[in-house]
Symmetry: C2
Subunit: 217 residues, 2 copies
């Protein structure tokens, strides 16, 4: 349940231009939203030619989708690995807190201030609500990733009806997805700046305390 960063390399030296576009687009989409960023904005930010987007990705929609796909895969893989490790530690039946930690830790790692994946997380959160119809369809349809977690949770709380588990997982995901800049800033304004965003380790414990309490009850 630690937040230490682990080796996240990825060679990806192929096609410098394609990568410049990818990174610039992810950044701008995350900051301003899909519809508010034009292909011209992206190529200008990346310092490449206007036609690059359509040459390397096919279309603006396809670019968005590829970023979404890659980041989602990465996030899901990290989560699955942590859940797997929790399974190993507890003989295939980890307690609720460990399951929730596997769900929380990857995005919280990404969110750490010095982490350059911070923008990727903002992108994912945004794409979830503002994405293309294609993205929304996938989100609605492909729930295999979540199933691992709901299964683990029902195993950890066999006394709880399935439906109850789903609802509480729904609430927990709401907590998690609300961690975007603007919402945090709002609450921090209310707290007159005393919320201290930086400490992600403390945030993890806070979130686990809150979510676990709601789950164990």
């Amino acid at each position: 349940m630690s937040l230490e960063v682990e080796g996240a390399d990825e060679a990806q030296t192929e096609a410098v231009t394609k990568n410049l576009v990818f990174m610039a687009a992810e950044r701008l989409f995350a900051l301003h939203g899909f519809q508010n960023v034009s292909v011209r904005d992206i190529t200008a930010e990346a310092g490449v030619n206007l036609a690059s987007v359509n040459y390397h990705f096919g279309s603006k929609d396809a670019l968005l989708f590829e970023i979404f796909r890659r980041r989602t895969t990465e996030l899901n893989r990290e989560r699955a690995r942590l859940l797997h490790e929790a399974n190993d530690r507890h003989g295939g039946k980890p307690p609720v807190r460990e399951i929730l930690a596997a769900l929380f830790i990857p995005p919280l790692r990404w969110m750490a201030p010095e982490n350059d994946r911070r923008i990727s997380l903002q992108f994912l959160i945004r794409a979830r609500s503002e994405g293309t119809e294609e993205i929304r369809t996938i989100l609605r349809t492909d729930v295999t990733h979540l199933r691992r977690f709901s299964d683990a949770l029902t195993a950890a709380r066999p006394d709880l009806p399935d439906v109850e588990v789903y609802w509480r997982l729904h609430f927990v995901l709401g907590m998690l997805h609300n961690n975007r800049f603007s919402e945090f800033d709002r609450m921090n304004a209310l707290a007159e700046g005393r919320m201290g965003e930086g400490d992600t380790a403390a945030l993890l414990e806070r979130m686990l305390d809150f979510a676990e309490a709601g789950f164990i009850r």
Copy 2:
């Protein structure tokens, strides 16, 4: 802590066209997002002339803002009234569950399937993340409404550090704002349709149980 609907009239007979535009715009914005809906879409849906938006509201941005302002005011007023009633019932110091109920009940009332305010809630949730810079600034700046609730919560839990209250309120609002169609559909797909969206009274109790547990802990 009941969900019975109360008198929500509002005369609003002024300028039929203006109202048609208002309603059509709210609906389309809620369903498809601000950037994905054109002035032409709105006026077509409303069955009025293209120029109506600019004549009655000044601009598309101003239209969005006016819808946001009105719905926010209505929601905040309902919440404030419920909190006030809770105060009266408990001599100015209601327990956590009552405070959270004052926060949850208005949006849940709006969300009830037969309620025509359902679309207004979807609009508000969307505007919160996709709105204009002006809307985001207001959300970030104007926290007077939230202060009533954070004050009440710190009074109900004087042993808890202020900062802790803000964090937990942040989590609770995350739970609440995640109640959009798409997110629910996702979880309901995972539950194979067994989540039974319709019963908002049960949902209220479920949310209160979860949030209260996290707060009391």
